[in-house]
Amino acid sequence: MDPLIIAGRELRSRLILGSGGFDNHELLAAACREAEAEICTVALRRLPDPTHPRGSIVDVLDEVGVEVLPNTAGCFTARDAVTTAHLAREAFGTDWIKLEVIGDDRTLLPDAVELVAAAEELVDEGFTVLPYTTDDPVLARRLEDVGCAAVMPLGSPIGSGMGMCNPYNLSIIIERARVPVVLDAGVGTASDAALALELGCDAVLCASAISRAHDPVAMARAVRLGIEAGRLARGAGRIPRRRYAEASTSMAGMPALDVPAAAE
């Protein structure tokens, strides 16, 4: 596969793994390997880690050679998100931040106003900002205009597994974006990831579809292969959709076999 370039950085993998929801760190490590991911998101919470008290996720990702992409999950205001990005930069020594500013705790949809404000401030401070956004093309353009290194529209709500609910909006974002478009949220299975790449997304960020699958390691492989297939198909160029059939076999040279009864 051709490499993906975000903020001047070349990535071989078009699958960014979200680390949320794995039963344990060992499973996460195995999924990272099978996904062949280069980047994996992590969140910041108070010490000690209440969910997985044994072992540090940073060490686990280090061992499998996957780089940490900190996020601002759980932030509802630009101010909280900016401070969380500062903490992440200090904790992991990276300027990359997956920016999430949530506006509602049931839908987990982004708060557009706070999101743009936080993105602008973080870009000004030198962060490489990867914002989780809705599938609104205008908002995506606003995020690009303030200097985000990519835009990460949702396919459907986080953890919903509903795939891409509005591929038309996503295709408008893709057509007009001058930065990479990463489908973030909504992937439910490998075919959703394939469709995203076929549509023209540059990459997919996938967490729950893998971590909450019955067999996360197998699903990590499936999603990786789906992405590969989708990217290849995008480059190969799909045929146009038609309402009526178009025979793939020529009628030229068709033998006359319907002999009239009188000639027998």
Partner: protein
């Protein structure tokens, strides 16, 4: 003096620094992937041993968990 560390009230001696808080939480100062906010502002690792806490200070000590 009393300070709030990760939402819990703790008693620390006057002159306590960020490093004193880390000791309280049993976190090695060299631990990777740890960051500290003091009264809402991030304290860089290089300043942990000097950054003194005021009485009533709010300290948040965070690290990476699975997420996103």
């Amino acid at each position: 003096m009393r300070v709030t560390v990760n939402g819990e009230e703790r008693e620390l001696q006057a002159g306590a620094t960020v490093v004193s808080v880390l000791e309280l939480l049993d976190v090695a100062p060299a631990a990777r992937g740890v960051a500290v906010a003091l009264d809402g502002e991030v304290v860089s690792r290089a300043r942990w041993s000097q950054a003194q806490l005021r009485d009533g200070a709010l300290v948040e000590v965070v690290s990476a968990i699975q997420g996103g």
